[in-house]
Amino acid sequence: MSVAAEDVYRRVDAADDLSSGDIAFLSLARSRLGGEAPPGEAYDPTGRIPAYPRPALLPLPHGREIAIDTMFALVVTHSCEIDRQKNLGASSDHFDCRLTVAPIVAEPAVRLVGPAADDLAVNWAAIEANQPVASLFLPPIEDVSVLAPGVDPLPWPRSFADLRGLTTVSRGMVAADRLFSLTPAYLGTLQRQLARFFTWRDIARHELVESLVGRIIVDAIPLNRRGDRLRIALTADDGSSVTVELKTK
């Protein structure tokens, strides 16, 4: 189910502290080998992303280059991290200037395609429900001037922040061209998406699972049930154990 703009966005004033969820107009850098082309038709022959407007290329020595995309992006660095050095009493001159941001992809700029360049009808419905781990849905706005006084009364299209394109920019750049921000409630959804993205759907305990390979499970004890999920403690013949969670429906 889609969320309403008033539940997602909040107004910010220029004097407000920077925070997670700020949306700003930024230049984002992607460094890579010269002419590197990711697979798929979503990229042009030189590896740039056509949906990102007017990329610039800066050559680096030894066959490297930086592609720069100038677009809106969402600050994903946690507000506590942004404020941490200030709270510790550090001078603002010594703050770590980096903020991690995700590019915002607007619906009018893209035709979403799957790995085989096929159009998937479920794309936007899934994105609206924040089903993919790599995106955070951003609903349309009828008139951005309500949230950003002084900006022209323009609509904002349906879009999403693409966590696959995370990069860093300076605090000063976000402060200079900040448009609006996310509500505290929707920041919770951003944090859940970040946790899902970086842990890939669940917190994986690879070392525990690997240690059980080749062992015989000698006992399985049901633990607590939460919703439609059941936790079970498995014990191997060497005495080691691991807890797994199963979907029961």
Binding site: A42, M71, V133, V151, T189
Partner: protein, 128 residues
């Protein structure tokens, strides 16, 4: 997508065909169409010859002026307004790798954030 690429697509013509008519190297046309070389960085005569070869006004090939972040020539409000128009509502949609991987949601896609983080203790903000 550059304006030149959009016109080539609309007219269903190739780099080579345009280059031949404009007396240019096909590579030059390709680099301009892909944006590898900015059309702002080539001789006016080159742009004019491509425009003539495509039977379009020269201005049709020029990219709209995209305001840059921090541009002191424009106020913050003017920069942001122009950026919304040019960036968020850019012309023709192009293929983009979808973040959607499956037709069905996984187990925890719909878990509310409060439940998702229910058992996690907060980290002390004063940590070093």
């Amino acid at each position: 997508m550059t304006r030149l690429a959009a016109i080539l697509k609309e007219k269903k013509t190739s780099y080579t065909a345009v280059a031949t008519r404009a007396r240019l190297q096909p590579r030059t046309v390709r680099q301009l169409a892909t944006g590898e070389t900015s059309i702002d960085n080539v001789a006016v005569g080159t742009v004019r010859r491509i425009a003539e070869a495509l039977s379009v006004p020269t201005a049709a090939l020029l990219e709209p002026e995209l305001p840059l972040p921090g541009d002191p020539a424009a106020s913050r409000e003017v920069r942001l307004s122009a950026a919304i128009r040019e960036v968020m509502w850019s012309g023709q949609p192009v293929a983009y790798a979808s973040p959607v991987e499956a037709t069905e949601a996984d187990d925890i896609a719909g878990v509310e954030p409060q439940e998702f983080f229910a058992d996690m203790p907060a980290i002390d903000v004063r940590r070093g």
